[in-house]
């Protein structure tokens, strides 16, 4: 099978921690420009999969390719981030003691070494880019507030904004609506669909209502491998999916 049109290509990936197989012969292919939702019960290996793609965890076995040709198992977190893979954590992780604007500023793509940062002066383009992103994530009003003072939902958006600032090719978004109100959830779905127009996106989520709203192809993971894949209706009609979610 040709990998050239894929943004992410996982084949036969396995990883175990102390004998526990967190990922078991997982194969997953994401086309360029595609948005994919990943569901699965707790412990299905969703977050571990993201750890493997972003270089936090090395797989014991299998192939992981980005953009059809880059072997991700040979790179570390910072390199992978610079290649264009952005990751949002399950728990919103922002720089709490900095303002919203500075959070975005530190995320903007550009040189990532010490001396340019030491002698950095903000440019007009940079300020424009920050304005654009703040408008997209609807936090213009809060730009001078400390990130610590944002609500939970706003922190999630800020983190998504930080990913956008990185200008990645692929975004991995882990449980973006956990702990959000219904209104915030809808807003987040709108935001992600907007982002998916220009980026490849993988969203891990438990909230079925939210997944339905995204209206994309769904992959269900169970015990570290793919259980079912297709439209949400197809997947939720699958006997085995019903079984793992409801228990035998």
């Amino acid at each position: 099978m040709s990998k050239s049109h894929t943004i992410l290509y996982l084949d036969g990936v396995s990883v175990s921690f102390d004998g526990f197989r967190a990922i078991n012969n997982l194969s997953l292919v994401l086309d360029k420009g595609e948005m994919r939702a990943i569901i699965g019960p707790n412990g299905a290996g969703k977050t571990t999969m993201m750890d493997i793609v972003t270089g936090k965890t090395r797989p014991d076995d299998g192939e992981v390719f980005f953009n059809g040709s880059v072997d991700l198992t040979k790179h570390d977190e910072a390199e992978i981030a610079m290649m264009g893979i952005g990751r949002k954590f399950q728990k919103p992780t922002v720089f709490e003691s900095h303002s919203v604007e500075d959070n975005i500023m530190l995320s903007l793509n550009g040189p990532r070494s010490i001396f340019p940062a030491l002698f950095h002066r903000s440019s007009t383009e940079e300020r424009q880019r920050i304005d654009e992103i703040l408008a997209t994530i609807r936090l213009d009003e809060k730009r001078n507030d400390l990130a610590a003072n944002l609500s939970h939902g706003q922190k999630q958006w800020l983190e998504i904004g930080m990913l956008l600032a990185q200008d990645p090719k692929l975004l991995l978004v882990d449980e973006p609506v956990a702990g959000m109100t219904d209104a915030e959830t809808e807003e987040t779905a709108r935001l992600l669909k907007e982002i998916a127009k220009t980026h490849s996106v993988i969203v891990v989520e438990h909230d079925m209502h939210f997944v339905r709203e995204l209206d994309v192809k769904v992959t269900c993971l169970h015990e570290g491998s793919v259980l079912s894949e297709g439209t949400l209706d197809f997947v939720s009609a699958d006997e085995r999916v019903v079984e793992v979610y409801l228990g035998r």
Binding site: E77, F95, E96, S97, S107, R112, S113, I114, A117
Partner: protein, 404 residues
């Protein structure tokens, strides 16, 4: 002057005041010591000049520690090692300056080497007869050690308590090494009996005053450099690494390099402080590597206020003034007082003295804003409080976290 420039650049008021005070005492104290007659009330006795000069060196060490601890969350319990290494580099220069005036009158070998029957100068003592070389080594040796140590530790992602423990081990290892006579640094006696620095008698009042001024100017410079680092994009990144290291990695930053730079700069700063300290106290021995010394530095920074630039300076000066008083008046109780102070600060003043001051100012400002009647002189004060409040803003957020 410099303050004018700082204000023109929209600089922070508190930093400008600190630098101005330091530069002012660099001029005033020597004048009061040398030019004012001894019977005048304004005369500053030479012992006080040397004592306060020592405090300024400690303040610089505390500031260096604060750069890595307060702003980057690296709790180094071995910072006195860099201070001592800078001190030894200066001590070696001062030893070579003794020349043939030593007890054994050997023009090349310091006394302790003659005593140990050494025939020639070890290679690592070469060059220390030149001041420029010693001055370079004062920065290079602690800097290189910090770079090597940090490169290994940060790349292996050693953080939190584990890092604190290995920094403690580092200073302890150096303590043991410097105690050995065959290391060539004078063993447990260290280096002492200094005569001249740059041709001037180290005991002379004028030299002491000059060293005091040099310490004050060096500290002012360190404040300026730290302030510029913290205010830059890199400084924001440093705090970002402190608050959410993994986030910075997944944004593409190399957190280990961010830490390494701060750690190295901090070690160089500590080395310079040590080099200024040695000629003022007249001795450097392995006792400076004692782990307890490094821990005391942490107490100074905590008392003054972590993640503030002025805090560690205030903390170092206050605690050491207290120490000088206590060790004179109630020598048996100093360690209890220090321990009690640390516990009290941790419990009641987690942000230190400067943090408490900022919180008080913020509360007062709120009250003023809420109150209907504002007294005229308070109106005058308000822009000042606003400026101070602006500075404290980034500090009032999340606590530096020692561990991930």
């Amino acid at each position: 002057m410099i303050t004018g420039k700082l204000f023109a650049a929209g600089a922070d008021r508190r930093i400008a005041i600190t630098i101005t005070i330091l530069l002012a005492i660099a001029i005033i104290v020597p004048v009061l010591n040398l030019a004012v007659p001894q019977n005048s009330a304004l005369h500053i006795p030479p012992y006080a000049v040397a004592l306060f000069g020592k405090y300024l060196c400690y303040a610089m060490l505390a500031l260096a520690l604060d750069l890595v601890w307060g702003y980057c969350g690296i709790l180094s319990l071995g910072h006195a090692a860099f201070f001592a290494l800078g001190g030894y580099a200066m001590g070696m220069y001062l030893m070579r300056q003794i020349g043939d005036r030593g007890v054994y009158a050997n023009p090349v070998l310091p006394d302790f080497m003659v005593f140990l029957n050494w025939k020639e100068l070890p290679w690592f003592w070469y060059g220390f007869d030149q001041f420029w070389f010693a001055a370079l080594m004062v920065m290079v040796v602690p800097g290189l050690l910090a770079f090597g140590f940090g490169w290994l530790a940060f790349r292996s992602r050693v953080t939190g308590v584990y890092l604190s423990i290995i920094t403690q081990a580092l200073t302890y290892a150096l303590l043991l090494a410097f105690f050995r006579n065959d290391m060539g640094f004078g063993g447990n006696n260290g280096l002492t009996d200094f005569k001249d620095i740059l041709g001037f008698n180290v005991q002379a009042d004028a030299t002491r005053s000059a060293l005091f001024s040099a310490s004050a100017i060096a500290l002012a410079l360190a404040v300026y450099v730290t302030w510029r680092i913290i205010g830059s994009k890199y400084g924001k990144l440093l705090m970002a690494v402190r608050d959410a290291e993994s986030r910075t990695r997944f944004l593409g930053w190399r957190a280990e390099n961010v830490k390494l730079f701060a750690f190295t700069v901090s070690a160089v700063m500590a080395g310079i402080a040590g080099a200024l300290y040695v000629p003022q106290v007249g001795i450097i021995n392995p006792g400076e590597f004692e782990p307890a010394n490094s821990i005391e530095v942490v107490v100074w920074a905590a008392v003054g206020g972590r993640a503030t630039i002025v805090g560690p300076i205030i903390g170092a000066i206050l605690v050491n003034t207290g120490k000088s008083y206590f060790t004179g008046a109630l020598p048996d109780y100093w360690l209890f007082a220090l321990g009690g102070l640390f516990i009290a600060v941790t419990l009641f003043l987690p942000q230190g003295i400067v943090g408490m001051w900022d919180a008080w100012r913020a509360r007062r400002r709120e009250r003023l804003a809420a109150g209907e009647v504002v007294a005229p002189q308070e109106v005058v004060v308000r822009p000042e409080t606003a400026a101070a409040g602006k500075w404290s803003e980034p500090d009032s957020g999340a606590e530096p976290q020692p561990a991930e």
